[in-house]
């Protein structure tokens, strides 16, 4: 099903609002003190897989920028851009998943997870730390470790929440070709 550009615009708006609410208010306490597990990347991967790379980039960009704004520390551009890159990559790679046709079997689950791991590795292992060094002149070993820890946590949450979301959404859609003409 081809989506109209208006649907994509609305999806970006609602997606960014969801990203914001999840990132700001749905904090799951983790074993490490003062660190919460961010559930919003599961949502971002799901929305990107459904609405494509442009939606993925903009949901990540707008949602993350709004979270930073609401905390009042200004926009931490390097991490905002990393979120956008992750959304874009997942949207680009997952273009072949047909969630709208109710298809999300074992093959879909495996490829979705491979793509999201690639997206997270590039976003948090490369983009975020490199931009941190270039923009804020922070020490390399600190930013790479931060990226590594954040990236691994995001991979785990995306694997669980993103997969469940894709599965639930696909199950709620009528299967393509599920209706047949009676003879």
């Amino acid at each position: 099903m081809k989506k109209s550009p208006v649907t994509t615009i609305v999806a970006i708006g609602i997606g960014a609002a969801l990203f914001f609410v999840l990132g700001r208010f749905v904090a799951i306490p983790s074993p490490v003190p003062n660190t919460n597990i961010s559930t919003q990347y599961g949502l971002l991967a799901f929305m990107a897989a459904l609405f494509g790379p442009v939606a993925g980039i903009l949901i990540g960009l707008i949602g993350h920028a709004l979270i930073d704004f609401s905390y009042g520390w200004g926009i931490w551009w390097s991490w905002v851009i990393a979120s956008a890159v992750f959304g874009g990559l997942v949207g680009f790679l997952c273009g072949k998943l047909k969630l709208d046709d109710g298809e999300f079997g074992t093959k879909g689950i495996i490829s979705f997870n491979i793509f999201q791991v690639i997206g997270h590795i590039i976003a948090w292992g490369v983009i975020a730390p490199v931009l941190d060094i270039l923009m804020y002149a922070e020490p390399a070993n600190k930013v790479f470790l931060q990226g590594l820890v954040g990236g691994i946590a995001n991979i785990v949450t995306t694997a669980i929440i993103g997969t469940i979301l894709c599965y639930a959404y696909a199950a709620s859609r009528p299967k393509k070709g599920s209706l047949s003409k009676e003879a």
């Binding site: 615009i9 609602i14 960014a16 609002a17 903009l58 520390w73 390399a140 600190k142 979301l165």
Partner: protein
């Protein structure tokens, strides 16, 4: 929405500036603060922004929560940097003035302390101006200003939709979360991490599936009204520029120009008092 973004409607010269002006100034200012590590310039910005704060009639207690939050973040970040790279300042400035040792590789140097001073100043020069922007810009005007500074109006409209639906989605999240908790899901520390993630999904699935319906309803309504047909659109909250707007943009552009000039004159992003 106001509770999240703390827009405070209190007439002042800063409130009178258009949203587009404030957004342009914010961008120019934060690029200026981001680019240079010239301590003299970074020390000037906080003073200037506190002056603006006084102008805007925003009181300290209006923003004390956000300031507290950011301070914690700033201290943690500084500690982390020292923990991971206690000699970062030495490698940046190229000299080494040892002060005292904390054992092992943790030798406190003048260069490291100076680097941390720069970092703190960097926070102090951006935080007040961001708070000022958030507190004095009406969220409804924000989308109009994005469009004004050259962002495509469809994208600006997405931002406006996001701001509009954040309170709705927040409310829906609380309703679903309470309904699911009444059915016995557990999200506190008593459960294992995996169980907690699974219970988060039990809340997220209804929330996101109902949001998908919402997307369809809104986009149908917008299509019926012919959204996206024309190349331009007008904004209810858009306002024309006035002299004060143009003046503020010029001042902020000068700040950015100063930052660029200092970077060129210092030969790098760092101002080095040690050499």
């Amino acid at each position: 929405m106001n509770s999240v973004f703390c827009y405070i409607d209190r007439p002042s010269p800063i409130h009178d500036l258009t949203g587009a002006t404030k957004l342009t100034c914010l961008l120019l200012w934060s690029f200026a603060a981001m680019m240079t590590y010239d301590t003299r310039f970074l020390a000037f910005l906080p003073v200037f922004s506190f002056l603006l704060f006084a102008f805007s009639k925003i009181r300290l207690k209006d923003v004390s929560f956000m300031i507290g939050f950011t301070m914690v973040f700033m201290i943690l970040n500084n500690l982390l940097i020292f923990l991971f790279s206690p000699q970062h300042g030495v490698s940046l400035y190229g000299t080494c003035h040892e002060l005292f040792s904390l054992g092992g590789r943790y030798v406190v140097t003048l260069e490291q302390l100076f680097y941390h001073l720069n970092l703190v100043l960097k926070y102090l020069s951006t935080i007040p101006i961001v708070l000022l922007f958030i507190c004095t810009t009406n969220p409804s005007e924000f989308a109009a200003s994005l469009n004004r500074i050259g962002v495509k109006y469809t994208v600006a409209y997405s931002v406006s939709l996001a701001l509009r639906y954040i309170p709705d989605i927040q409310r829906e999240y609380h309703e679903i979360s309470q309904a699911q908790q009444a059915r016995g899901i557990e999200m506190s520390k008593k459960e294992t991490l995996f169980k907690r993630l699974k219970s988060a999904s039990a809340i997220l699935i209804p929330l996101i599936l109902s949001s998908m319906d919402r997307i369809e309803t809104i986009s149908n309504a917008m299509q019926l009204r012919g959204f996206g047909k024309n190349k331009k659109r007008t904004w209810y909250m858009g306002r024309p520029f006035r002299t004060a707007d143009i003046l503020s943009i010029i001042v902020c552009a000068l700040l950015l120009a100063t930052a660029v000039f200092l970077n060129i004159r210092n030969g790098s992003r760092f101002w080095n008092p040690f050499s």
